[in-house]
């Protein structure tokens, strides 16, 4: 290849863009003057987005109380500002890169299933360790492999080759990507996170989930790194990576331990068995986003 895949992707004009309102909301989350009113007013500027955020807020996955929340204002009061910002981010990304691609649908769905499973596992571990990531762990899990989705979208044929290579040679996906495409999903994901001006922790997670020691946001990157492995161990896999590993030998595990999180309290066997039930949650989560009549699932 004369021009590298990374350069080609950087120069693609019609790379998906986040809805401007979503970018504005993420921007607000960084500002000192963030308020309930500002965030809800901002989301309402994009009515289809607002509808979707409300629908997700009312889904079994997020819903807190018995009564349905019918305004964003109420949703924020119930769930907190952070969670609504997280939902807005997830909804926006999933609607521009939907789980069903035109080609290679099964693999595309497997990529997303893996991402959602990673987010859900991260949520469980976050709770067990009392990390208080405030929902960022779910968004982080959801977006950690966004680079794979982009590679699959723009270099589908080559990406399938990399996938086959990873299975044949029994190597991690990123090694197969380097071999076949000369770039990795981490590099592409990081580029996209920056282009979309996503929060710094997401950019960190996309780039360093396989080397959490390099990250600036160490806690959450280590958390996603572990969750990613466990999702693969339970075969919520992006395909390719059929790994064996010792969890307690992982750099991410040592990092969490050093940061004082009670990792030694986790019954790893039992937790691994519990993850079996996450399969059901993954499907629930996907269906939340793909209910009939949900608009906005078009490629832009």
């Amino acid at each position: 290849m004369d021009i590298s895949v990374f350069d080609t992707i950087k120069n693609i004009d019609d790379l998906p863009t986040l809805p401007s309102v979503a970018m504005e909301v993420i921007g607000l989350s960084r500002s000192a003057e963030v308020s309930i009113n500002k965030v809800s007013e901002c989301i309402y500027k994009d009515p289809p987005l607002a509808t979707k955020v409300l629908r997700v807020a009312n889904s079994a996955f997020y819903r807190r109380g018995a009564t349905e929340v019918d305004t964003l204002h109420r949703a924020i009061l119930m769930m907190g500002l952070n969670e609504i910002i997280n939902i807005t981010t997830s909804v926006s990304v999933l609607s521009i890169l939907p789980p069903k691609g035109s080609e290679g649908e099964t693999l595309r769905k497997a990529f997303w299933d893996h991402c959602i499973a990673t987010g859900l596992i991260a949520r469980h571990i976050d709770k067990k360790l009392g990390m208080r990531s405030m929902g960022r762990e779910f968004v982080g899990g959801l977006l950690h492999d966004i680079g794979k989705i982009i590679l699959d979208e723009y270099f589908h044929k080559e990406y399938m080759e990399a996938h086959a290579f990873s299975i044949d040679v029994d190597c991690p996906m990123y090694e197969a990507e380097l071999e076949v495409l000369g770039t990795t999903h981490m590099e592409i994901g990081h580029f996209l996170a920056q282009k979309w001006d996503l929060p710094g922790y997401i950019a960190d997670i996309t780039l360093y989930h396989h080397q959490p020691g390099e990250a600036q946001y160490k806690d959450i990157t280590a958390l996603i790194s572990i969750s990613d492995l466990l999702a693969k161990a339970k075969e919520f896999s992006c395909g390719g990576d059929r790994l064996s590993f010792v969890l307690t030998d992982q750099p991410a595990w040592h990092m969490l331990k050093q940061m004082g999180y009670p990792v030694h309290m986790i019954d790893i066997e039992r937790f691994t068995f519990e993850i079996e039930d996450i399969g059901k949650e993954v499907n629930n989560y996907i269906s939340t986003f793909s209910e009939p009549g949900a608009e906005g699932f078009v490629h832009e």
């Binding site: 693969k232 339970k234 896999s237 790994l243 969890l247 307690t248 066997e269 519990e274």
Partner: protein, 287 residues
Amino acid sequence: MSELRTSAGTAQMTDDNFRLLRDFIYEHSGIYFSDTKKAQLENRLMLRLRANNLTDYDKYYYMLKYDPQASKEMRSLFDSVTTNETSFFRSPPQIQAFQEKALPELMNNRENIGEKTLRLWSAGCSTGDEPYTMAIIVKELLQERLSEWDVKIFASDISEKALRSARSATYNEYTLRSVPPEIKKKYFVPDGSQYKINDEIRMLVELQYLNFNDSKRVRLMRGFDAIFCRNVLIYFDDTAKKRFVSQLYDNLNPGGYLFIGHSESLHNISRAFKLVHFPGALGYKKE
């Protein structure tokens, strides 16, 4: 069947019942029932409710927890929650982990030190499905090179009846339901309505009577590269379990693997092993 139904026949296991019983069983046996297996647990425990003439799962849980006779009931409970049936290629993810990851690694290590020997142990082999499955996997991996290797698969059980059946190496269609057709063709010889394992595979397996309480003899089982001891530990109390697992650790070569039941855990039993996550299954490694 209606005349056989006692009041337990209509008992419903609530989600709370399920969680309490699941945790109780895990704590005492190391066997975990995930949410998706609620119906399975409910079915199994229905029989225990009937046997004890109880009308609901609340009462059963309290009996287990507070009744002085509970230890007797626990034995029956664990019996009913472990599938006593055994079959070829049982728990595919574990078999696959052994076949694709553990075994190639073990053989590589052996070859690197120029010692082409392999010792496997099916501890609690029942009617022989497990050790013969292991033998088939080894043959599949080595193919023609099998003759260059010194391979022995020890298979032990406490039941003479099971061992007799294992020696006959003859199985019905149902036991072979998870066997891939090409494997069946290669290694099984039709024998009336049944199938007999071929001689090459049979020769790899050495069956013997062994009582795990006979610590002198268990100690003699040395130098194994992998031990399968699935759904056996539930029959021991905690102290015996700890002693036995530490013995199994000693029975393994450095770098060797122990596989226990698919949803069994050694969490409260041993810290000596490294817990390895294989795709879809767990294994315990001696370093």
